[in-house]
């Protein structure tokens, strides 16, 4: 905070000189030697890059066993550092531990590739990913604190599931319906774990983030599926898959997950999550069995799903989520107008009409969002819409 800004506010009569003095004293007390830190950071980066170049240049000269041993010893050293930092809950304890956890997890993942290079082996990517998940999940979930670790874990979980699905699909035979229903429900496992652990953990924000990432990926997946349902008569899960059977299984699993979410969290957040899961279950089921290949019906189903999310956002006061909902429904409306009149883009007059429609929908959506979005919460972090109790 610069003195210039504070002087500006004093001159504008926004704050009195006492407040200005207290602000200056507070800022002086809170200030960090950022310049020094950035130089230390730059120096560390240079050393790190130098070590990497030295190793890379002599890669072939170093026997594979030695390289693998150094790799393992580095992992052991970082594990020891995390253990030593365990009681520290200041800047070092919280931030450095998370960065070290992240580096540890990445080094663990690259170890599998390194083994493959030394022993000239190869395996389907889901195998090392699944082993990594088993080995590292307890540590990441026990010690992680920030979004770096929560995002890494959710991405790894979903990535492993997708890699396994892809591998199974390439085996020739269509994966069983139950498998597809279960693998598409994996984000809900993360979501329910987050809801279950959030209340009992001293790291509530971490579990909240896991829940947010899981719910966001689930909603994104369902939305893509609803779009795919409308694109053609093709089956989004492959020509051989039984879309109706899968949809019934998903309906059952997701309804059970919605009920579990309600039991785990009786607050407004829990109710909102329950509503989103229930809406996803219904919309997905209707999309699979119903005649939603018509542009209008498909768009209505898509927007109904997002309207349910919008309702949940209002109910729990998730301002940012609500704004995203309005934007997505507006985009879907614009896309629908082009779908219904696909010849609009073929002529100059059509382009003008399309432009007017786009601007009109955008302006209405903007005004709607301003008028109805939940108020910005005074305490909650604006980037964490799910941060309500």
């Amino acid at each position: 905070m610069s003195d210039r800004k504070i002087n500006h506010w004093v001159n504008a009569g926004l704050i009195d000189s006492d407040t200005a003095e207290r602000l200056r004293a507070y800022e002086a007390d809170q200030s960090r030697p950022l310049g020094l830190w950035s130089l230390i950071g730059l120096g560390t980066l240079a050393i790190g890059l130098g070590i990497i170049s030295l190793v890379a240049a002599n890669w072939d000269a170093i026997p594979g066993t030695v390289r693998l041993a150094v790799h393992i010893l580095t992992i052991a050293a970082i594990s020891a550092a995390i253990f030593v930092l365990r009681p520290h809950n200041g800047f070092l304890g919280l931030y450095l531990k998370d960065v070290l956890l992240f580096i540890l997890a990445i080094l663990g993942a690259t170890f599998f590739g390194h083994l493959g290079q030394v022993y000239q082996t190869s395996s389907p990517i889901w195998q090392p990913m699944a082993i990594w998940l088993v080995l590292f999940s307890p540590l990441l979930l026990l010690a992680g604190r920030g979004w770096l670790i929560s995002l890494l874990w959710v991405v790894a979980l979903l990535g492993t599931a997708i890699a396994h699905w892809g591998w199974l699909a390439e085996q020739g035979d269509a994966p069983p319906s139950l498998y597809i229903a279960l693998v598409t429900s994996i984000p809900l496992v993360a979501l329910l774990s987050a809801l279950a652990c959030r209340g009992n953990s001293s790291r509530e924000p971490f579990w909240t983030q896991i829940g947010q990432f899981a719910l966001a990926s689930f909603v994104a997946g369902v939305s893509l599926k609803l779009i795919a349902d409308g694109v053609s008569n093709g089956n989004p899960f492959g020509a051989q898959a039984d879309a109706g059977k899968i949809a019934i299984m998903q309906l059952v699993i997701w309804a059970a997950a919605a009920s579990a979410a309600y039991r785990l969290d009786r607050s407004a957040t829990g109710t909102s999550i329950t509503a989103i899961l229930a809406a996803a279950a219904c919309a997905n089921f209707l999309g699979s069995i119903g005649p939603f290949t018509e542009p209008l019906a498909g768009a209505i189903l898509f927007m109904a799903f997002w309207a349910a999310i919008g309702w949940s956002a209002i109910y729990s006061g998730w301002r940012n989520v609500f704004q995203v909902v309005v934007a997505i429904i507006a985009l879907r409306l614009i896309a629908l107008s082009l779908e219904l009149a696909s010849n609009l883009l073929n002529s100059g007059l059509g382009l003008i009409v399309a432009g007017v429609i786009t601007i009109g929908i955008s302006v209405v959506a903007y005004r709607f969002s301003r008028a109805f979005a939940p108020a910005r919460s005074a305490t909650a972090d604006p980037v964490e819409p799910d941060g309500e109790p």
Partner: protein, 180 residues
């Protein structure tokens, strides 16, 4: 902090370390099983022999008994190796549902999860030191040199190339000279 909680973090830190070490030991043990064979190879694609530090090559199996080795996905053909390891005398293509050509000393199957996928019996790649890569490439293109890849066939029948050597092609009847 209770006694239970004191133990949890050390255990969670030890688990990945132990797991990675076990994976290493298992990979090491697996790399020692199976039989090793020498297979002549030819350059696979003169325009792109080297991809990164990998040399790509095409297996030049000696005297296949039956036609070409199919390389499209889903055929599930495998290769019957006849000979005394590491020398391959001849090979026969085994197709599912067809009668076997008799005794096989080893059976090789394409590893669907290798870089080559279903082409695994036809072509492969091997990681080579960077400084030797250009020399390897030149010799694979040179008709005076015959590339020989030492492969290991593990218990699943999957091929893992171990090393690449060259010997000079000499006129018929002369003694072959092993080089490098």
């Amino acid at each position: 902090m209770t006694g239970y909680r004191r133990l949890v973090l050390p255990l969670a830190l030890a688990l990945p370390l132990a797991g990675l070490c076990l994976t290493w030991i298992w990979t090491e043990a697996e790399s020692r099983e199976g039989t090793e064979w020498n297979v002549p190879v030819t350059g696979y694609d003169p325009r792109d022999l080297l991809r990164g530090h990998y040399v790509q090559f095409r297996y030049d199996w000696p005297t296949p008994v039956e036609g070409n080795i199919s390389s499209w996905p889903g055929t599930r053909a495998s290769l019957c190796l006849i000979g005394t390891a590491p020398r391959v005398d001849r090979v026969a293509v085994l197709r599912p549902g067809r009668s076997s050509p008799g005794r096989c000393d080893a059976v090789a199957k394409p590893n669907p999860w290798s870089e080559e996928g279903a082409d695994g019996l036809v072509r492969d790649r091997i990681y080579v030191p960077q400084r030797d890569a250009v020399d390897y490439q030149a010799r694979l293109q040179d008709p005076r040199w015959q590339g020989i890849v030492r492969i290991r066939i593990n218990r699943s029948g999957f091929i893992t190339p171990q090393s690449l050597t060259f010997r000079r092609r000499v006129p018929q009847g002369s003694v072959r000279v092993e080089a490098e």
